[in-house]
Subunit: 390 residues, 2 copies
């Protein structure tokens, strides 16, 4: 297939995947001898992936225990919650295990009593896409010119005016990486106690920090004081195990029980249960802490060097990704196709993201130090040589 | 731990697992050096498990592709449905992929417009447990004295009187194994066209047959004619891969779209996608057909020999399990604990199953020919030696 037709077909696949990226297996089926060098769509810490797979290989593959994990039913939801509670240091009855965070999101926004949702744009699209037909969604817009920084007072004002029953915050926000300090989160919670729920999605929280020692931050500590707080957490980003489907929600125990009474019985799977079991051990979490901090340090450096490229605007980020903005002269979907087939770099266009449709926004995942260097080199090559396809 | 205390603890674990069996991993955590010889709770074709794992080992473990399946997001629901449609020979837009059949069940009985459910007892408890608080459930009882055989005319009469919006049939029925011939299913469908949905759960249909060549039977062919028909299918029983979580629902395309609009985006996982991919190849399905029939033949033989034990009543079954009834003198939960710790056989008590609470009912899974023989020998040993614990 020719270069140009490849880019065209890619754009079509992107379109049919809706507001998400075409999966790796879809791409592999569509392009002969397709391989990418760097998946800069995929938001994960490669060092944690390495750590997980080395343990997995030892525990599950070498022992041939894989058969056991795939053959038998996983434990019921509350049994896995008990394991996970050791890692989170909260009561297990506040934990609802999900088949990925996406199942928790689906359940929260489809729940009875959800009539009006306030979503902050840009955002992860499922939050507004999965609502029922009769649920109203109001949007609160972050401003690129203010680096997508949330003005908490203005948001509180908007909540008072719009009176949603559900407020959704992603912290750090996807896809721009803006971070709301924990003291600010509490200020929002104090002012939103009348809402049915304030959802704080912490899927990227392991990459955020408020001090120089890069200690873990979280809103978990607020759960006791604010019973309408719900924390959503995907483990896919921390460990690069999206295919395992490990996620959870934290909320008041009564609400967990309500969900369990309607299902969520064996909604996990054998390997997700294995993951939660090792994550519940202090030894594994200590090993993880090292690679978590290593990755943050490298990500900071990557974003710093990226900012030196004059042609693009780079937004500040506390996620494991960074939002960049292309010059107006470049078509963003073309640019993404070009990088895919010319350099083997798979970038995430944001042209399908509400509020970022125009403006040439691309989200770049931070990868290993070598991969980041390759991405930087290719960007420099592109802009220095003006390689616009003829 | 002493034999008696083991039985006591086991009875407690059973209680806290509600209407399901304690999982293998729960049992292993609770009893030191716990191992069972035969899991006669676990409903699966061991020959198909062998077939699957031999392929899995070749494709996924030896190649180290396991990393790929666990690291990346699974494909979206419709992509996996396209693969599966090749195996089922129906349009992919009628397929909703589930994280196990249980997710489909949860969605169907929780759906908007479900106000009154008719469930046939005995049944798989999730069907009535997962309904919303304000949904009414009416029960239609099968009679042990008629071998749990469904009287279709009487059922149709009962539907006309009770006017449910949802009728649930499991075929063959779990836990008694009674089978409704396809012509009878159609007679029900013809008479239930005004219902919102008629759910036919075919999770055990691969073990049923209507002719001597043991060809696959199914109600899939009725989907076009009866748009309110929904077929639920777990693959756990056919292949012994409950930890993989592979199930699906078949229904009219409009309803699939309604579900997809509310979620179900990445509700599968990497290994379930792998399973559906190989299941979609004719080569694999041809290999499976051989072990499917082999297992049916052996199961028929097992049930036949079991019927010769004078002390128990054995009900006819077209599932891969058989319901037996103990003499009134024996406490069923004690019996199950005794078999677990004395013989290493894990049986499924039905004392937690609505309509089977009393009467000493136990469900026994058919296993490999050697395992079946061991179960038969232990039953004979028990009854011949009257080994009631002192």
């Amino acid at each position: 297939m020719e270069f140009k037709s490849q880019i065209e077909l890619f754009k079509q696949l992107k379109e049919s995947a809706g507001s998400h990226s075409p999966s790796m297996s879809t791409l592999m089926k569509s392009f002969e001898n397709f391989s990418i060098k760097i998946d800069a769509c995929f938001l994960s810490n490669p060092y944690a992936t390495e750590l997980f797979f080395s343990k997995f290989s030892e525990d599950v593959i070498r022992t041939n225990d894989i058969v056991k994990f795939l053959e038998y039913y996983p434990s019921q939801n509350d049994v896995i919650a008990k394991e996970l509670s050791k890692a989170l240091n909260i009561e297990s009855d506040k934990i609802l295990i999900g088949n990925g965070a996406i199942e928790i999101i689906q359940s929260l926004v489809n729940d009875e009593g959800v009539k009006k949702v306030m979503s902050i744009l840009p955002t992860f699209s499922s939050y507004y896409e999965f609502v029922r037909v009769d649920t109203e969604v109001v949007y609160y817009y972050l401003n690129p010119e203010e680096n997508f920084r949330l003005d908490v007072d203005d948001l509180i004002e908007s909540v008072k005016i719009n009176k949603p029953d559900t407020l959704i915050l992603i912290n750090p926000n996807n896809p721009d990486g803006s971070y709301i300090e924990q003291s600010e989160i509490e200020r929002i919670l104090i002012n939103c106690m009348e809402l049915k729920q304030v959802i704080v999605d912490e899927s990227f929280i392991h990459f955020a920090y408020e001090n120089e020692s890069l200690d873990l931050v979280s809103s978990i500590g607020f759960l006791d004081r604010y019973p309408n707080l719900v924390i959503v957490k995907s483990m896919s980003k921390d460990f690069g195990i999206a295919g395992v489907r490990a996620g959870y929600g934290l909320m008041n125990a009564k609400r967990v029980l309500e969900f369990l009474s309607k299902g969520f019985l064996w909604n996990s799977n054998g390997l997700a249960e294995y993951f939660f079991n090792i994550y519940s051990t202090e030894e594994f979490r200590n090993q993880y802490e090292l690679v978590r901090k290593k990755y943050i340090v490298e990500t900071k450096k990557f974003i710093g060097t990226l900012s030196e490229i004059a042609e693009i605007k780079v937004f500040p980020s506390k996620g494991n990704f960074v939002l960049i903005q292309l010059p107006v002269s470049i078509d963003v979907d073309y640019f993404v196709g070009f990088f895919l087939f010319k350099y083997g770099i798979y970038m995430r266009t944001c042209s399908d993201k509400r509020s970022l449709e125009n403006g040439g926004f691309i989200r770049l995942a931070a990868r290993s130090i070598e991969e980041n260097e390759y991405v930087l080199n290719c960007l420099n090559d592109f802009f220095n040589n003006h390689e616009i396809l003829d």
